[in-house]
Amino acid sequence: MMKALEIKNLKKTYKNGFEALKGINLNVQKGDFFALLGPNGAGKSTIIGIICSLINKSSGHILIQGHNLENAQRAAKAQLGIVPQEFNFNVFEPVEEILVNQAGYYGINRPEAFKRAQAHLKQLGLWDKRREMARDLSGGMKRRLMIARALMHKPSILILDEPTAGVDIEIRRSMWQLLQEINEQGTTIILTTHYLEEAEQLCKNIAIINQGRIIKNCTMSELLSESDSECIILNLDSELKKTPQFTDYSSNLVDAKTLEIEIKKHKNINDLFKQLTEKQINVLSMRNKSNRLEQLFLHLVEDKAIIKAEREN
């Protein structure tokens, strides 16, 4: 299968001596929905910055749809659509103008650009706002505007750097749906996010970067299968005075009506409910304590200080 993105031995050392990337090798297949995860300062934004030509690399090679970013920069750049983490459009320009200008930078003439802008603004629920200044949009609308802008030249690779940061759950879900549709139409998507649930739900393949190195690169299912156990929280209908003991399951009474159970890999959850019934413990509801990917992520990056910073964010 053709590679959409090929990164070979990419290194970056900033002027202050900080070695952000220590030889990154990474391949993303065409049509993939790829997650690039890592704690703050791991090097994700540096990789994206170099791919997008916003940061100069120290060494290494990047091929985008087979075009070398160094020797065939124009062809390589034309394949990329970028949705950055920070809002980077002119907030003093009307919404429609931002899209039309962006299309112009890719050689799309204005009549065609207006047509595409109309389609994307309608698709992303921004049509009514097309004449408004971008500064007057809400945070969620600004995020959608950046997605619309990135799609104007029909890129074959769409890179999204925390696209759903700060948006409410409703918009987030609608953005997930949109991204899945875009991916189904053949666009390769590379996503960085701090919402690991988002990566788990959307992405087929994953790379985890920490301290400038790729520490894991596999399919999402392979990674999730590495999980040894899963922790669930049960909400009970009556109070318990002490922690009940279960065969093959470890338990912890969080409070009188909340029970935490650790289920080992390959263990049948039916057995647990059978034992609960035998002990006359009625469960009102059940939820995961934390996302499986989140548990693996924390395990992989290990650095407690970084984990703490990640949680604080």
Partner: protein, 257 residues
Amino acid sequence: MYLRDNLIAYKSIVIKEILRFSRIWLQTLIPPAITMGLYFIIFGQLIGSQLNSINGYSYMDYIVPGLIIMSIISNSYSNVVSSFYGTKFHHHIEELLVSPIANITVIAGYVSGGVARGLIVGVIVTIVSLFFTHINIDSYLTTFLIAVLTAILFSLAGLINAIFANSFDDISIVPTFVLTPLTYLGGVFYSIEMLPEFWRSISLFNPVLYMVNGFRMGMLGVSDASLNHAIIIIIGFILLLGTICLWLLNKGIGIKK
């Protein structure tokens, strides 16, 4: 295909730039008209009426070309420096950096925006001057040529300033401490023939003198410097600053990490 795409990209930048300064016309187009109107009243009418003619022209007539070219210089410069620095400050320069647009197209687009504003302001100031004097243009071609070349030159200078600027203070330092003194000492308000020999010789090293006098040659047919020298000097500086701009953008200096 490459040329066609870049022409479309160029057009996009020019339209964006013209719309930008048109949207804020109260900040960009009206102030020069008011400032120059005050110059015409104070220097041209009140003080000028007490002065002798220069090279056969009344003082008012003599300073009109200088004030027009001065407004072209300051507006073409400030348009590009503020617009390009704004794109850096608000990070929407990234729109250009991620796109396949050639750096020379970016330069041409921003410079054209600066030229457009410089010339529009030049026309506005010319219209204002008609309230105070009657203008007979000696050579439309020379007048237009010098106006366009001067606007190109100072747009490029504004772009270099913006590339190096790290704060809004940085974009006002050059206009305040370099551009304004050079312009005021460039023969806008006087003929260098009126200066002592030493200062006249020093004035000849001021490039703005050639622009002011080239433009005056076009409008009035009189000048302190040769028109050919003026054109050669302006084009020479355009080539120099244009090359510097292209080199800076190609290296990513001031715009990339």
